[in-house]
Symmetry: C2
Subunit: 219 residues, 2 copies
């Protein structure tokens, strides 16, 4: 139905729309896709032609209902395949993203229906991100960034914001994983760094780390 490039653009734009309401800028898309702004303009014009988003030059883009539907479906496939890779093939959660980037483009409704059932219709992927159902409905979770916690608060790690390999490997090393409880023992105001406790260990983390980890606070 849609090309690999089109699906990747729609997915990237969808994620950018989540992070900040309103139109998405050409540069933001270019940066998130590691491409040039001029390439983005080209593609965005094609996608507008196909009614997958609205585009006014110099004003940014916004996905249409149809465009959102396509994007969410790609995200659903990506996350289901990640569950498969971790649950069935015993990959680590930091090893699956690249492979899922390929698998998410396999075209077959029936395949995904059956994969979902095979996996027991999971609600979350290995990084704690919700898996949209077949109608594109995303379960909203009440999570906040670890960096938003104050001293002496705690939360259970539920997902990561950016799941790049190096970051996830850092988390593995520090024994931080989905479901693990994190206590904020101290917090510096001038740089947002924290001292936290995870399991028996306590250590220092930078603001950059804290603003990439989502936690669920217990009520």
């Amino acid at each position: 139905m849609f090309t690999l490039a089109e699906e990747n653009y729609l997915k990237a734009i969808f994620h950018l729309e989540m992070e900040s309401e309103g139109e998405v800028s050409t540069n933001a898309i270019a940066e998130s896709m590691d491409t040039k702004p001029s390439s983005v303009t080209d593609m965005v014009q094609k996608l507008a032609e196909k009614k997958l988003l609205t585009y006014k030059r110099y004003k940014g883009v916004q996905l249409t209902a149809e465009g959102k539907k396509v994007a969410v479906n790609v995200i659903r496939k990506h996350r289901l395949w990640e569950v498969f890779l971790v649950e069935k093939l015993n990959f680590q959660w930091d090893e699956v993203h690249e492979i899922a980037e390929q698998l998410e483009h396999i075209q077959s409704e029936e395949l995904i229906t059956r994969l979902d059932k095979f996996l027991g219709s999971p609600d979350f992927d290995p990084h704690g991100d919700p898996i949209p159902d077949k109608h594109g409905v995303l379960k909203r979770t009440e999570k906040k960034l670890l960096s938003e916690l104050k001293k002496n608060q705690s939360g259970i790690c539920v997902s990561v914001k950016e799941s790049n390999g190096e970051f996830l490997q850092y988390l593995n090393k520090k024994k931080i994983a989905i479901g693990v409880k994190i206590y904020v023992l101290g917090k510096e105001f001038f740089d947002g760094s924290m001292v936290i406790r995870v399991g028996g260990e306590q250590f220092f983390i930078s603001h950059k780390i804290a603003e990439n980890l989502y936690v669920q606070t217990q009520k």
Copy 2:
């Protein structure tokens, strides 16, 4: 490493080399890939450039060791995914080919290693075709076409030659599947048609069917 198009060409050429020794012609490749001869010439020149096959104009092509390696690896992936689709996701054997055509291009050594182990390192795919091991070694089976059997001989169905959907659906309808024993009750010389028995049923099949089914004769 290689593009989707390159992998598909190498795979098609490999299969053509199996069916008849010697060089593979441009037209044969074009027909098997449902493309034009001129397109084949273009691609074949690129593949020769990359040392994946030898090419002398007007003389046809032949895969190099390297080209064969790539082709066999794609075939290995294709067949492993077919096993996954049938064994784990409960697809019918006539529903998996199209999806496997996509999955065979997913790039990840580790993925295939793990998938193979997950499936119990199967030797054959759902159509009875052997699955090459990680070194590209294909188990040779002693199978012959059903059409080669004489009256009163019998054989066990081990694989199909062309696995297009309509043909496989025909087999399903007639209860012909891998492992099923087929008895040749009669054979006409002028058109090669046969009367066969499968399970309790006996019926007529055309030569076209008989030359698309491989059977293993018991010693």
